[in-house]
Symmetry: D2
Subunit: 347 residues, 4 copies
Amino acid sequence: MIRAGIIGATGYAGGELVRLLLGHRETEIVWYGSRSYVGEAYASIYQNMFQLVEAECLDDNMEELAAKADVIFTATPQGLCASLIKEEILRNTKVIDLSADFRLKDVKIYEEWYKLKHQAPEYLDEAVYGLCEINREQVREARLVANPGCYPTCSILSLYPLLTEGLADSSTVIIDAKSGTSGAGRGAKTDNLFCEVNENIKAYGVASHRHTPEIEEQLSYAAGEPVTLTFTPHLVPMNRGILVTAYASIANRKITEEEIREIYRKYYDSEFFVRLLPQGVCPQTKWVEGSNFVDVNVKLDPRTGRVIVMGAMDNLVKGAAGQAVQNMNLMFGLEERTGLMQAPMFP
Amino acid sequence: MIRAGIIGATGYAGGELVRLLLGHRETEIVWYGSRSYVGEAYASIYQNMFQLVEAECLDDNMEELAAKADVIFTATPQGLCASLIKEEILRNTKVIDLSADFRLKDVKIYEEWYKLKHQAPEYLDEAVYGLCEINREQVREARLVANPGCYPTCSILSLYPLLTEGLADSSTVIIDAKSGTSGAGRGAKTDNLFCEVNENIKAYGVASHRHTPEIEEQLSYAAGEPVTLTFTPHLVPMNRGILVTAYASIANRKITEEEIREIYRKYYDSEFFVRLLPQGVCPQTKWVEGSNFVDVNVKLDPRTGRVIVMGAMDNLVKGAAGQAVQNMNLMFGLEERTGLMQAPMFP
Amino acid sequence: MIRAGIIGATGYAGGELVRLLLGHRETEIVWYGSRSYVGEAYASIYQNMFQLVEAECLDDNMEELAAKADVIFTATPQGLCASLIKEEILRNTKVIDLSADFRLKDVKIYEEWYKLKHQAPEYLDEAVYGLCEINREQVREARLVANPGCYPTCSILSLYPLLTEGLADSSTVIIDAKSGTSGAGRGAKTDNLFCEVNENIKAYGVASHRHTPEIEEQLSYAAGEPVTLTFTPHLVPMNRGILVTAYASIANRKITEEEIREIYRKYYDSEFFVRLLPQGVCPQTKWVEGSNFVDVNVKLDPRTGRVIVMGAMDNLVKGAAGQAVQNMNLMFGLEERTGLMQAPMFP
Amino acid sequence: MIRAGIIGATGYAGGELVRLLLGHRETEIVWYGSRSYVGEAYASIYQNMFQLVEAECLDDNMEELAAKADVIFTATPQGLCASLIKEEILRNTKVIDLSADFRLKDVKIYEEWYKLKHQAPEYLDEAVYGLCEINREQVREARLVANPGCYPTCSILSLYPLLTEGLADSSTVIIDAKSGTSGAGRGAKTDNLFCEVNENIKAYGVASHRHTPEIEEQLSYAAGEPVTLTFTPHLVPMNRGILVTAYASIANRKITEEEIREIYRKYYDSEFFVRLLPQGVCPQTKWVEGSNFVDVNVKLDPRTGRVIVMGAMDNLVKGAAGQAVQNMNLMFGLEERTGLMQAPMFP
């Protein structure tokens, strides 16, 4: 049994980790960390876990935890993981960080977009960007995995074949993304009250959202050239789900939609968690809810010479906790899908 | 492996059966029946099942199915199962009927409330009312199980200890129930359009809903006397979930809330799927979503001498497909929880 | 022009007052009070008012306001209005208090249910309970109106004819109420976050909600005898609307539904804002959204000898700001419907 | 009094017309046309209108209606208005068509995108595209107004200053639009059921939506050159509201956001119904709900040289019925805002 500790177990991503790890037959949760609720029964915070989780919330003691756990998940605000990580921890345990601390290789970009001084830049090189479909082999060997952001996961997987194969002009990429409200976290803010979000849609973080450089960095690796793009997230009145609608001008106007689909098939036919939908079927977030799937599709618009790429996933699963479990499976030599075989729930 | 056939696999309850049986390690689905979609890929109707279910929808041929399947689930409109059932089918296979055809022992009451002539009254005696927590032993031996209705499941489990123990005056029982919209089915009706249901709540079927006699019959068995009660369902703008708020005058005004809770514990401490919440905690439908749990609690109001009993469950799981799987497990000698261990999903 | 001041203009009820008074041709808002946002443009808090309201938020100075305004609305937490009211204010202006401070005539009951010491019990006698349909004449003469609570408004108007006419046994009254989330206010609490409320329903304040004694007091006046009842509120995933489903045993089992309806017609045919729906039509909150209407109906259940009374209204309009405007109209000798003629918005 | 007739009064846009015209002091509705409900009380279909509308639904007899009404609104499927329009009707009455029949000047484009033969191409020249902010003077003189589509209204008003002034490269325009579900109409379709739309978001009509040529035609007039663009609509789980997020590369990379805003101010400062929000404030659909406002804003992204333009409005008001009333006001010489002064409703 893998002994897993969670720091930040009472946020939405942390709660989802608990849900998934309870159903993972090779794992046992040994630490429910939550600074806000130390000493309270975990199931009194997440009542869904009543009679399923007996443990109490513990403080965030990473050193003590490193001695007890084979893997630590940090589902915490930016900066926390970087402030705690050190060699003696990584010698004892593996770390999967769900925050942004180790996603960007360039510390200056991190500090500029996150307005934080990075506390452990010496680990940026070692950290593996844990998008399993792309970095599977490095993840297997990693001690420290930077679990990708929710928007980046959906955006990158949607666009990866297109940019890797040079099918589109990388300077024309625009990503219009829509997210359910769990992405905003469980903090008590007026903006996230039911009455403010319900019956409403808005863009936010326009031209300034922190996931932009993460998407750009990864797509630059794919394209083999620096990619600068426009990324606009929107808040949608639903709990879960991210939909990405991405636009790019195709490099060669003679290519057909079927040819693009053929290339996507090449990349994703052997990927269980990425499903290329049948031609003409648009991804819907509800069809992947609760699961680790990303549904993608492409539509070529011959009138404008643009390709529209769509991707849908559950932001808390493939966009956070599910991907973290997928990374854990790889890091411990388990079958990658272990504990992640739930079919999506509909309706 | 149990070979399972589903008639009515493209309704919401049928779809949920597919989801649960896909995760059930002892079962294989051999028949996706759907009159409306014969010949179409099941996953083209329920796109969440893309790449998980390869099968096509088949017509509702119960005899052919009886030869192929160890168990048949009928998730169909009232009247269909009764019109198809016969000895040669029950000799070959077990039947779990999710419709109301075999829930009421009195054929006259069935015909009065359902406005249908019963096609197989000769099986009413044999059919077992499949509320496992109450009829567990009979279910184990049954060939034909009447899977309880959604409202009845939640209502009966909420009130069962109270009435069995004579703690309340059975003539004072009022059940005010609230259901998510999946309970209304997948038929294309104006009343169930998003814009008609969203931002809205209403009562319906007031003093006339068909689940009333089913609740009354079962609670009469519990009370040991005929129970006539008021049942009012409401439609709530959410996909899943039933909340029951039931009222009754206590028989003995000296009883305390803790004493009532103690009695509930006696009934439910050993029942995995019924969770008596801590004192003062009200059940919420979201805390059981996607799971087979029923969360219950009681509140005594000394001012009025009434007890308020609350129950919450997922109408498609414990209220339909999950309970059907629980029944199947019992009928085939499996551990009752097999395939039903999913933790509720929150948020 | 009536000069109106609002204390608590940035809560949901305060915001609704602004919306309604902007469309009221005889009124001008002279004070947008909001302790939390002093000095900020009102329209920066409620962006819907952009270019419609130029004013800034002011502090809650009731004396200064009394000198400037003909009427003051206090849409504030319990206790505030009582702490500010005094003779020199009431000599200069009229006060409509949307909090509970002056709703209960018995100061002990107030202090027991609200856990507050009442700061101005000497005004309890003078204060008029502003349910216009019942106390119209007293409201016309009032200096201080206690604007009814949202649940009480809907509950009392639904049950008033029944209890006034002695049609039901007043000891059997049970009120099961359902409210949209704006009733919980605009405070930033985890429980009211979108992800906690959405796809969820729960009871709260069971056997202990503060609106209970208010409903009891008013229905006791109606019944001519003390009424003790059960009141259970529920939180529903929608912004606006209250639905009341009330139960009572009829006093005379020979009465017909049509006879009860006839009595309701006697009370409400001349009341513009109370609509008795056609027989068999259940009230829906969506059908009154944004308007000052209360839709009511009754259903007699001969099987149980109970009558089920249903009422639906918009909690922010007839349940708060609309009723306050209706009271203002009466207090200033205007036609009662002035500024309240908006048809409900659907969908 | 203007006597108004509505054909298609029981669709969502027709229902909204009824709501707005009831509050319009210069108008009287003389005809509630609805093929589906002939002879039924209008208020039995739209129960919100109970006791506000006494009339019954009538058949769609345009000739009889032309004799009785000063203006006819056709809120009907594409093709109907064109099939009924003729000189003797336009001699007697004015027509405001809420369908697409007269929006596109080029009959071939209409027939290609709508797959319909146009029945009255001879009126295409005369018909005025009723986007009041742009074609105000022509609307005043018109007998036949083509009321713009919902997406086009929001898209065009958002981009009009940008393209008219040549600030952006018109070949780079991408419009990513999000709509509430009332835009899909009141027809009973499985896709629009509550459970299918709720907790879900999807794109639809990708690269093929019929509003594309309408937007292109109008923006081509603005730009003074043919504009071909990408338009992607999405379905959002809310009743009302359209949000447009549009992207374009700026023509001159030296321009500042403030300069672009200054140009928008030049166009919209005198337009009551178009509100340019303060810098940095993103439009939200909830802030305009129930009103005729369009809230717009721009954000310049210097990293990519793109401008992101956002627009939000209520699809049933400014996107349909409100704009139709605005057109009527102009056609009858009334103040343009008559009956349209409702403040948005929040929450």
